[in-house]
Symmetry: C2
Subunit: 112 residues, 2 copies
DNA sequence: GTAACCGGTTACTCACAGGTTAGTTGCAAC
DNA sequence: GTTGCAACTAACCTGTGAGTAACCGGTTAC
């Protein structure tokens, strides 16, 4: 942290990232979609999240161009959510978080 | 994601990590402390966080052994917060988040 | 003697994230 | 003809994370 850069400057990218990833379900959703694309109900069932909340989270992810929403004109209509290429750039970040989580869990369990 | 592992199993480490890092100020605090150790008021001023909230966050970080609280028997007494070695294992994760934030900010600005 | 700094704590307030329940449209199965 | 699913939306409710303000004991500076 140089003298010319304030702490605020330094923390801003962190805030930016947290804004995009904020909310209880965004990271889990991205993780699910990084494995393969999914339909609305599928995500809902897997995560146990309320439809309203999931809908909101998906919209936010879409607005940041991390997730793509595709409507299939089938009967009954299907909607599929998938990660965009830009969304895929988050896989590394989320992978790191998850790796740390694995490490952390091991650490806690071995201290019993 | 194998057939024998449920999605819940897969997401658990992510949840573990998010539990530890949850709260508006934990990541910023760790980031500050990763540069160098700081005193209470110092952190408070730099982040603009309420004393009550900072106090709580620091206690939680301490309980997870990420941060060490050292009291100096000086006059007036000083309290210094620093990252533990375990806390340092988070630097990589937070670095990744920040890098992504930098990248994201650039992406947004170039689209104007 | 009084104002200010450090490292907090306590009490009060409040916005809002997230949850619950019900409803909608459009089709298909029983 | 009504029950059910997909993919939501609308209305309402609630817990709590976080902020504000006041205060504490100890200390030093003015």
């Amino acid at each position: 942290m140089s003298a010319t850069k304030t702490c605020t400057d330094y923390l801003r990218p962190l805030r930016d990232a947290m804004d995009v990833l904020g909310g209880k379900w965004k990271i889990p959703v991205i993780m699910l979609l990084s494995v393969r694309e999914r339909r609305f109900k599928e995500i809902q069932r897997e995560l146990g999240v309320a439809a309203k909340v999931l809908s909101k989270e998906l919209k936010e992810l879409e607005s940041h161009e991390l997730v793509k929403r595709t409507v299939f004109d089938t009967v009954p209509l299907a909607v599929e959510y998938s990660l965009t290429d830009y969304g895929r750039t988050l896989e590394k970040v989320i992978g790191e978080i998850r790796d740390w989580g694995v490490h952390h869990r091991e650490r806690i369990l071995e201290r019993v």
